[in-house]
Symmetry: C2
Subunit: 336 residues, 2 copies
DNA sequence: ATTGGCACTCAGGTGGAGTGAGTGCCAGTG
DNA sequence: CACTGGCACTCACTCCACCTGAGTGCCAAT
């Protein structure tokens, strides 16, 4: 059983290890934090912590480092969220406030977050969800090539290339544009597919082209479900003192691939306001075993998406949680 | 003076060093490439090459490695472009052919190129240049927030957020949308600003809002000049055996920052078809001293932009040049 | 111009000794 | 019963000395 002092010791171990990156031993522990007891006593407590798999010794007779489970207990019970300084807060607001458009805003978000924390920052694009169709533009790029641009009432823009089997003229495009806009403008994206299928066919000679367009539009609406990711600060993984054993290649590769990170973020999808922390092997995803993911929701036009950061399990959880929270909150106020 | 055999020796040194990553000495040189002479003779040639700063010895009495200047001579005079295998070619065409839209196509391009070469691949977004306005959509996001979406006749889409001082209703937006579209649809982007400034003012009560919109549009048109970059394969920098001395941090940071790379690419802007190679210190840009950039133009709707790759100066120039060329050509055929 | 021979250099690997931070255990104490 | 001081032990790391081998520059001979 782990005593109350045992937990204090765990907290101290995590703090010292995070700041020094060296396994911490009983002696230096009593030196830095004056528990009212001797090193030998602390050693007993440490033995208990090791019993519970909260800490581990990298090799016989060296200091201890926290395990994933140890970090978990630390995050859940032993740390309090440190608040950001007001200058940091202002920095965030100034930098995010200047953005030009949605893409730019998310880009600035991850930049800010990665600079603030020295970790890799990620943000999920919101799904289009309950948005409505504002306008559908069709552009003729060539005799058998069209592009559709779907604009929603909350300012998202999705485009798609279409290869038609038959040749299309500019007039055809005009006709189709009017027809389709008339039928889907103002409709929710989720309804679009049904509306299109139900619509009465237009001129027979355009049927083939119209079919291809409807097909493409449906895909476009579908596609937004599997959302997209923006990230920044991957260079932080290489900061002179890095925490990862073995090659960084699999890690950076996994991050660049995005799919694993995206999956993790999606799983964390819960209420905004709550900050989720997933530590090391808790997410046994290939490449990310040595990292923790700190994320929380932000809301954009009612939709909740995740923004967060990725770093070594040995990270400053208090500071990072605070940073993620602050950025997410401000992002929400900008978007809602 | 460097003899003809001297140049052959240089070629051999580059080839051996690129494939073995070890300084190459006179003995192993005669072993692998049977010049008709003895090692001592080769040593004399190597001394001449060193005299010309084409090769250098990392430490006294070790093998030699090529200098940036040595690579330059190799690229310009000693290497021939190796052609890609037809399966590689087909792979490129299959993967790029499937893309959905312009963004996706460029994303696939860099992915392909980075996988093909194991380097970092980059591609520059084309400037909008001579494109014409197809449609301008205005979306009302809130009482004082609008978003403008500019669609060009070659399928590019640019969006921008606008904060208006006065409140705007949906009706106002409709009015403005019609007015602005009427005046700029079909105009070249370069003309847009002039046209807008010259246009007669509409309803006086909308003047403020219209002013803000016009302002934003002008910026939007301007902004596309400074183009944007897509990249992939940064993980390749960390492949187990990597070539960079010192920390990778400054390098990855510079790449992620994009601005330096963008500047380099822009400077290379010349005719398509020609493959440019910039080697190491030839571009003395902070962070990229140990890298070479191989790039060439691709054309999109008449505009020429650059696509290329970035890797250690010790790279397989022949193969990489071939890959860049093949990808750029196919990209051009898709886009033009 | 080319060659074989020779003395020299130096990075990298190997192995042993020493150091110090840290441990587990145990007997003793308030 | 919780805590303490003491003690023997472990083991990663550093330093140093030594060796090896690939490679060099130079020179006299062809």
């Amino acid at each position: 059983m782990v005593s109350q002092r045992g937990l204090d010791v765990l907290r101290a171990i995590v703090q010292d290890y995070v700041s020094s990156r060296e396994p911490v031993g009983s002696k230096s522990l009593v030196d830095r934090h004056g528990f009212g007891v001797s090193a030998a006593t602390i050693r007993n407590d440490m033995a208990a912590l090791e019993e519970e798999h909260l800490i581990v010794a990298p090799h016989t007779s060296s200091g201890r480092i926290p395990t994933d489970k140890g970090y978990r207990v630390f995050v859940d019970h032993l740390s309090e969220v440190r608040q950001l300084s007001s200058t940091q807060r202002q920095g965030i607001e100034r930098f995010l406030g200047e953005s030009d458009d949605f893409d730019d805003l998310l880009a600035r978000t991850v930049r800010t977050l990665s600079q603030l924390t020295n970790q890799v920052a990620v943000v999920q694009y919101p799904t289009l969800g309950p948005a409505r169709v504002q306008h559908l533009e069709i552009v003729r790029l060539g005799p058998t090539r069209l592009m559709s641009v779907l604009i929603t009432d909350n300012g998202r823009v999705e485009q798609r290339l279409i290869e038609t089997r038959a040749e299309v003229t500019d007039e055809d495009v005009s006709v189709l544009r009017s027809r389709l806009n008339a039928s889907i403008a103002g409709k929710q994206l989720t309804e679009v597919e049904a509306v299109l299928r139900a619509a009465s066919p237009g001129q027979p000679d355009l049927a083939v082209v119209e079919g291809a367009l409807v097909q493409a539009l449906s895909e476009q609406v579908q596609a937004n479900r599997q959302s997209k990711l923006v990230l920044a600060g991957t260079a932080n993984l290489l900061k002179t003192e890095n925490d990862f054993s073995g090659s960084l290649y699999p890690l950076l590769d996994a991050i660049e691939e995005q799919v694993v990170v995206l999956k993790l973020l999606t799983e964390m999808q819960v209420a905004a306001e709550v900050v989720n922390v997933s530590i090391g092997r808790e997410h046994a995803n290939s490449g990310l075993e040595q990292t923790s993911l700190v994320s929380t929701g932000y809301s954009s036009a009612g939709e909740i998406s995740q923004v967060g950061l990725l770093g070594p399990t040995r990270m400053d959880y208090s500071g990072n949680i605070a940073a993620v929270q602050a950025v997410a909150r401000y992002l929400s106020t900008l978007l809602d």
